[in-house]
Structure formats: structure tokens, C-alpha cells
Symmetry: D3
Subunit: 229 residues, 6 copies
């Protein structure tokens, strides 16, 4: 069965540009190849003076190129302040997520993991879950969390929430494109053994894949499924 | 999207006859209605002198009638001894489950919950998971645990594993048939407020359903998904 | 044994009006019937412009009528800003809870669940626990969390804290009054299959009840008991 | 309020003689002082050749003396084989526990902890929970687990179930009798810093007590409460 | 093996003065005795008007005296506002912790527990973990959480993170000095059965010690170890 | 600091030959290189007719060669029956582990993970923990669990115990030898994408390593540390 048949309309939400590539770039590319409707939403944008203007613009350019490589043509910026989601009231933070989910009406939601060490990730997760509350029959059917190297393993699991992968998606056909898309983030790529390196991403795909007899996979943690009539 | 498209070939495994109806009878009926291949396997059979012959035969007749009501035509008996799975070596217990999964080659596996108080449920779960190990590309894609009233809530959660429902399947179209199938187990039906009563099953469907804005649902706990190319 | 003998003086704290009815309205009514001292405290009040004045006034009227139906005569408003508890400093948030607990000196505290998706619920729980710290011999003896349909099941359990009910209180004698009290919240009642509907509350009472052989029950999650001499 | 009013008829189940004193000896003595009906059941008895006859007889004598010190006059021996509960079929293991609970009809059940390292403790817990299933209106109302020094802290928590105390019972008036009763087990008392020493029991009472502003307490982990009309 | 050989350069971080003595005073004294490099950092300082100037100055004097008793000569004040860490943006909160860890370059980090009820403890933990992210080869090798009486046991474990001790450090040789150092905090010492009393600390040392056959120990919860070449 | 200084005398226990190489072969090789005392104990041996004699002998030869490559010269066989640990009484199963730990007197114990799907792994863990109970001052100081590809990820985490790595050991200098040692098990090596393949082991080393800025690491889950004077 095609992944796109199962997932329907897909919305991947990233706290910052590149999280969506690290976490589910291969899956998104596979969905695009299968003809699925895919939207990427980026929750935050760097603001001066914390983030210099040129740096922000560079990352945005890199992101556009990465999304082009993946084949995603619908990218939305929520423009919340990067590294400051904890500092704005939840009501203000939640509003653009609610608007986003109302606009996109995704069947499947791909989110950062609630136990990531970065508060932006935790608040992105919470705001997305609030937006996805199953209060009506259009709420998303499937919600999954992706893993983000350098955020997901650096908190204090299992005392803080542990990422325990239980959904594995074959990305053998798109792994190279994922790596190419990540490579587009010249400002973010780091030399191995930093986690944000192509070597780690490739090794991770092999580890997640072979856990379930696949050559390459991205792993997710299941949150909720609603299988309507 | 049709549930049968998502689930493919389905195998529901019950420790004892009626667990499969209590836990996922509405889902199985919906799958049958959609034309899916559905197999029910019952792990144990009562043995004399613990279980009198007439009682065992009665339950088997009730089961056949219940499966007919649900519309399942492929029922398999593993014929392990009821209430004694803890007392046989794991190797012997595992073998018929391995054979079963090899024969049926299910895409989706519906299992009792590992935290149920009854050891037969716990060992059925373990043996099924051993049989479903993802060692080759035919291992089941989706594994879910159903809840069994009077077993799932009677251990010591959250110190023992807690059933936390996170997959909800709409059974509005088949709830009445589920109740009818359960009614076929005349020897097992109990008057409310016992849990094994039609009133509880109906209320549970409303509770599980309305949690996600459905009129009636069965709830499951997700174990593992492998989404192959 | 009478519930009121076990619970002594009872304080139920609700983040917003109606949470206390949804979560423990039947229990409170039973306690009132037994002659117990029962206080309800509502943590927040809607503020303009987020909440229009008429709406706030309507909800307050509904609340007063609901409490009258339950028979609770001591209702206290902490008047913190609704939907904004995350945005005020913890010190300011904690103060009225500390004052409340000092004033009421409850033996039993009924709280919203820490894993509810709404931050107001999470902060109400935390502030109440801070107020109930067992630093002296008057600290509350029993602390329980109630479940609130449409908040308790909508986060990401079991990765976020899971509500696993382990205290069941018989409300057969007061279920109808609970439903009537909830009906008083005309602005909050929703048609089934929304969770905030009489049908869901009635079904939930049957499910929670029959789990322990009762006709109707409210379920709680135990937090702490101190059984002094 | 008197503890005996809350607990009603009490049944404490010990895997081996002395577990009940280590875990809840002070609580049992307090209940006896208040006039409660208290029964102690000991699940296992040492069998030759694993346990020499004289040793078994000595322990039984010590136990009788300890129970006399506590003031418990109803002691029941289930006479299952010590250190071998894992090796007998669950059905055989469960039967005497079911009979026991049917005979005693306890309101409150005090059990060893499911995460203790000793399998006899784990199986005693499971068999007791099976016996206490809430299938009728006489099932026990309150179930608590006590902690047993040298068993409860020696497994692999939090990966295996962790004893997290959340019920604290004041034993200031009976701590000395608990220590005296433990002292009666001359064959079991060990010199500090072994855990089975009077110094550890006394220190534990101070630690568990002062956590909730009591001079001395025994701590328990809550399992289930049913508060009937 | 000497503890100082295993721990290398040690940094203990306290939310408020005295937490480090309560949690790991005996361990720090032992490390000093062995000649280790030990730094204590105190995250917050009381600010007017919440904390009167004299009170703050008294606590600081007490702290200096306590550190002198322990033998720690390197004390650093991050001077964040006490009881207000939740109210400042994470970025501002994190910065001094990052600076601290960069300056001290500790091999071992001793932190308050993430599940403590006081938000200052939770935010100190998070900010320290952010500062200790293993992004380069100088990140701390060992991270442990200590327990703080009157904070660690007063939240809602196991629903909130439970302190489950799994690292036990022998402090028999320094227990008296730990008690003396705590005694230096005249403004903080409370009479037993308050937890912040010498009796509780002494009893806790015996309980934590005898759990692993030591006369006196401090217990920690392990977070992360990196054992480099 | 040298790993061997921290770990002292090391005992790695494997349920079956090759588990110790998969889980901690690189760590053992590093310890040998540093001059540490290292013992490997293999819990089970295949028995006819389940395991043909030639197969058993081949595996034993492979094992001896693998241990020679790692440099371990002290290998001990407990000779319990493979795939049957669940079927022998715990007392019989525990005895050789107790004898082993008494003989070797390890400072550090490396064990399979309690949540592995294979019951032999679970029982090996339990029997080892019983043998390592801290009843005297010679009990092991450090206990860690290693991960075994094809066992550790195939149960039902996080409902069953989840392997959450929190100890990372640099094996850059010995990774090739680990792979060579695994290659010695010609009968066990499988082609990628099976997990028991050199590709997976190499990728796993990169993933576990780069999580903490190492080129290659083995990951463990911490169980207990006792840091004596």
C-alpha cells in the first residue's frame, strides 16, 4: 500500500528550519514522489538581535532549497520568535498553529518530540496538539513524532519523556535526497562526530531500518490515530 | 480511506473465545463488511478436568455463532491449555503462534494487552510478538492491542503496564453486531454492573468514541508499525 | 462507611467553571448528601477582551445554579485570568491557592489532572500541590485527581502523564444530579459525540462503575494519602 | 479519624514470615490497638531439603511471637513452597489466595510490592490481585503495597516497577512494638548496615514520617480504592 | 578506587543555598578530602522585596560558613532571581549556566532533580542540561541528580518524574561534617519531624546507606555518563 | 581516566554466545587493552534435540575464536539449557549465577537488558541481579545493561521496559576488533538489513557515538552504582 494512501494530506511542523529534514525528510520525499499533498510549517523565525539578519536570511534560503530538493512546494512560516517560545503566552503561541491546522486540514501530522531538550520543540508539540484536538470530524487522523538528532537524545530520558521509536517508515528510495536536502543547510551541517552530520543521518537510517528489516528508515513515536468510517 | 486498505490481511488473536469479540468485534465486523481477509485465532481450549467437556463445547458453539454474526469465516484453534499457559515451556507455547503467523501472513495483528491481569493474556501477547519479530520483509506491518473488559483494568496499572488507548476505530456501523455476537456467548454474558455485559460494552463504545468525536469506537494501544515501500 | 467520614472536609479545585462538575460532581453531591463540608474553588475567571463580559457572566450564573443543584454552598473564586495561567509568574499564581488551602483547611483535595492538555489545568494542579505541601500537621490527608472529558484524554499519554484511574467512587445515587448540574451549563453542553455531552458523562459513569462492579462511578487517580494518628 | 474506621477488616499477606512485620508491622499494631479485625496470611512455608526442618520451625515460632507482640491473633498459613512460587502452576498458586480472600472478606488488603526482586513476592502480589478482582460487591475496597527492606530496593527500578511511596501511615505509637516484633525474628535480624536491622527500620520510619511531617511512618504504594455507597 | 579519580573536576549546582548541602554535602566533603577540585554554583539569590535584604545576607553568610565546613573554596553565584526562574525567558536563564559550565569545565555535574516540586529546581535542571549538551569533547562525563528533602518528595510521583535512587555514595567519613554544614544554615534548620532537620538527614543517610550495605550514603539518580578514551 | 580504573574487575554475562560481542564487544576489547581483568560468562548451552550437536559445537568454536580476538581469556559456561530458562525453577537457574559472582567478585557487571524479547535474556538479567544483591561489601559496584540487536528492540517498549541509553563508552579504538569478533560467528552473521550484520553494528556505533560527540560508542542503560570509600 502506498504511504500516501495511508497518510492522506500531510503536515509536518518544524520548530526551526532543518528539523523537518532531520526528522522526516525522507518520509516527506517519499510522500511527494507518491503524489501526496505535503505541507511544511516552520514555527519560528530568528529575530534580531539574537539572530543576525544575514544568518536568518541564509537559513531561509537554505530551507527553500532543501524543500525544493524534497519536492515540497507548500512551505508556511508561522513567524514566531526563535528560541523564545517559552517567553510568549501560550494563547499567542497557540493561535497560529490553530490557524495553520484549520487551513491545511491535514490527515497526518508530523511533530517534533515532546521530550526534546529544546523548549521550542516542547512548545511546538503542545501547540500542535492543542490545534489537533479531536473536537470535530476533521481533526487529524494520525499524529506522529519524529526524532531530531541533537535535540531528542540530549534531555534526561527516561526520567523526562523517552523517544522510543515504534513507527518505522521505509526511506530507501529517498535517503540520498534527504541527505542532499540536509546538505543544503550549509550553515547547519557539522562534521562527524557531531550528530548534525551526513554520516550520522546515514547511520541512523541504517539503524532504524535494520531494526525492522529495512535498508533505510526514519523512526517515529506514535501519538494518536483515529480511523474513521 | 477504507480501514481494510490500511489494515490489509488481519489476524486477531484471542487467549480465550470471546476476548476477540469484547476487544475488537466491532472492528472485525467493519473489516469484513469492507471485504477484508480476517482470521481469528483462539490460543487456548479448556481441558478436562478443569473445564467440563460440555462447558467447553458450549463455548465453542457460542464462538462459532459469534464469528458467524461478525462474518469471520476463518477461525483457527491453537488448542493450548486454557488457564495454563504459564505452566508450559515458552518454546512449546511459542511454536503454534509462529506456525499461525507463518500461515496467515497478516499485515495487521490484533492482540490482547500485555498488562492484562490474566497470565494467558500476557503469554499470548509475548508469543505473538515473538512470532511477529521483524526478521524478514513479511513480518506484520501493524500491531495493536485491544482492551478486554474484566482483564485489562484489573491488574495494578500504572505500576504494571497501563492500557492507554491511542488508536480509535469507528465502529458505529457495527456496534449492534458486536453486541449481538457477544450475546451469542450466553455462558459468558453477565448482568450489569459486571463488565462483561452489553451495557458496559455499549457505554465503552460511547466513551472511546466521543473521546475523538465518534459515536462509537473501539480503542487500541499501538505497538508497532512498519510502513514498507 | 460513609464517604464523608473518610474524606472529612473537602475542597475541589476547578481551573474553570464546570470542570468540577464534569470531574467530580457526583462525588460532591454524595458528600453533600452525607452532610460533609464541601468547598468548590474556581481558579480562573474569563477576562475581557478574550472572554466577552456577557459570556463570563452567563457562565458564572450557570455555575451558581450548578452548585446549587449539587448542594454546594461554599464557592470561592480565585479570579486568576482564564487561559493565561502560564503567563503569570508562579509566585503570583501560587499565592491565592496557598491562601485558599490555609483558609479552608481541607482534609481531602480534589484536583484536575497534571497531564490534562490545557495549561490552566497543569498550573492549577501544580499550584494546589505547592499549597498542600506536607510541611505541618494540617496539610491535606488525601489528594486525588479527577478526569475532565475533553482535557484529560487529549494530550499525548503515555508519553505525557497518563490518567490511569485507581480510585472509584460510587455515584449511583447522585448521577442524575450530576447530569442536571452539568445541564445547567447551557453554554458548555455539546451534542454527542462531543465529550462534553450528557451521553458521554452517563456512559463514562457506567464504564468507570462497572470496572469495579458499581452501577455508576467517578474515577480518580490517587496522588497522596497521609493517615495521621 | 481512626485508621480502623477507614480500613475496616484488614488482611496483610506476606510471602514469607517477617515480610509483614518489616513492611506494615507498625500499621497492623496500630489497627489492633484501635480494635480492628486484622488477619495475617503467610503465603509460603520452607520445605525440606531446601529449608531444614529446625530452621522452619524456628521461624514459625519467631513468627508466632512476633504476631503476639503486634497483637494479631488470626494468622493463616497458605503453605505454598517457599522460594518456589515461580515453579508451580499459577492455577495452583492462585487457589489458596482465592480461598483466603473469600474466607476473610477483607476491606483492606496489604500486599508485597510487585517490583520486589524476589519472585515469591511478585507471585504473591499477582495471586492476591487475582483473588481481589472486583467482580462482586465484596471485593476489597483498598489495596496497598508495603515495602520490604532488602527486597523492594534491589531490583532494577525504574526500568522494573519502582516503589514510589504515596500513602503514609503514622506509626509513632507503635514503632517500638514493630521493632520488638522484628526482634522476635532472631534468625532474621542482621547487624546494621544490613537492611534487615533495627537501625534501618527505625531510620526508615523517620524518613518516611518526616516526608509528611510525622515522627514515624510506614509508607505504601496505592493500588486501588473502591468507595462504595 | 578514589571517588575523586572517578569524578574528576566536580560542579554541584544548587537552586538556592543549602540545597547542595542537603543533597550532596557529604559527597562534596569526601571529594574535598580526597583532593578533588570542587565548585559549588548557586543559581539564585533572593531579591527585594520578596526576600528582605537581611535575610538574604544571613543566608549568604550561612552558606559561606557551610562551604567552609565542607571545605569547598570555589563558590559561584549566578544571581538569578530566587523563586522567579519560571518568570524569566529561558534564554536569559540559560546564559549564566552555559557560561558557568564553560568556565569550570566539570567532569561531573551534580544537579537538583527534575521532578522536584519547586520550579526553580526544575529550571535549574533544564538550564544545566542545556549547558551540558554533549556537543563537543569537553562536555561533562557524568551527570547525577541529588535529592533535596522537602522538594524531591512533594510533587506527584510517579505521575510526575519519580526520584528512584540508583547511585549510592558512601559518606560515612563525612556525614558529621554534612550535618555541621547544614547546621550552619541556622535560618533553614527546622525541628524534626520537619524534613529539613538533622534527624531526617541522619536517618536518610542510614536508609540510603543500608540499602547497599553502607553505614551512611547519599543517593543520586543517574542521568548520563560518557566514558571517553 | 582509564576505563579499567573505573570498572575494575569486569564480568560480562551473555544469555547465549555472541550476545556479549553484539552488546559490549568493543568495551571488553578496550578493557583488555587497558589491562583489565575481564571475564565472560555464557549462561546457556544448546541441548539436543532442540539444538543439533554440530551446531552447538560450531557456535562454541566461533565463540572461542571471538573471545580470542577480543582478548578475553577467562570464559565460563554456566551450561543452563538454551531457550529454556523459563522452564526451569528460578532456584536452579539462580544457583550458578550466584556461584559465578561469588567466584569472580566483579566490580562491574555487564548484563543483557531486562526488556529484551527473549525470555532467556530476561531470566539472565533477573538471576544476575539476584546474585548481585548488595548484601555485603563485595557486591558489584556498577551494573549496566547492554543492548543486543534483534532482541532489545523487538518487544513492546515503552509498554514493556524501554532501552533508553544513558551510558556511552568510546570504542573507536576497538570497533574493528568488535566487528572481527562478530565475524567469527559465521553461523550467526546475517546479511544487512538483518540487524545481526556488520553494517548494522557499524552504524549503531556511529549513532550511539555521535549522540555524545564520539566517533564510535557502545551504549548501555545504567542500573546501579555503589561508590564505596
Amino acid at each position: 500500500m502506498k504511504l500516501s494512501d495511508r497518510f492522506g494530506r500531510v503536515l509536518a511542523i518544524a520548530p526551526h528550519p532543518d528539523d523537518e529534514i532531520l526528522g522526516c525528510g525522507g518520509t516527506l520525499a517519499r510522500l511527494v514522489d507518491e503524489g501526496a499533498d505535503v505541507t511544511i510549517a516552520v514555527a519560528t523565525t530568528g529575530r534580531q538581535p539574537i539572530f543576525p539578519r544575514e544568518q536568518v536570511e541564509q537559513v531561509q534560503q537554505e530551507m527553500r532549497r532543501a524543500h525544493a530538493i524534497i519536492g515540497v512546494t507548500d512551505t508556511r512560516m508561522l513567524d514566531l520568535p526563535a528560541a523564545e517560545l517559552d517567553a510568549i503566552p501560550a494563547r499567542e503561541c497557540n493561535a497560529p498553529f490553530a490557524q495553520l491546522v484549520d487551513d491545511v486540514r491535514p490527515d497526518t501530522l508530523l511533530l517534533p518530540f515532546v521530550g526534546d531538550i529544546h523548549l521550542d520543540h516542547q512548545y511546538t508539540f503542545l501547540a500542535s496538539m492543542v490545534a489537533a484536538r479531536p473536537r470535530h470530524s476533521n481533526a487529524p487522523c494520525d499524529i506522529l513524532c519524529y526524532e531530531t538528532v541533537s535535540e531528542t537524545n540530549w534531555y534526561a530520558a527516561p526520567t523526562t519523556p523517552a523517544f522510543v521509536p515504534n513507527v518505522f517508515i521505509d526511506i530507501q528510495s529517498t535517503l540520498e535526497r534527504k541527505l542532499e536536502a540536509f546538505g543544503a543547510f550549509a550553515s547547519q551541517v557539522r562534521p562527524f562526530p557531531e550528530e548534525r552530520s551526513p554520516e550520522t543521518l546515514r547511520a541512523m537510517a541504517a539503524v532504524r531500518g535494520s531494526a525492522v528489516h529495512l535498508h533505510a528508515a526514519e523512526a517515529f513515536m506514535h501519538v494518536r490515530s483515529i480511523l474513521r468510517a
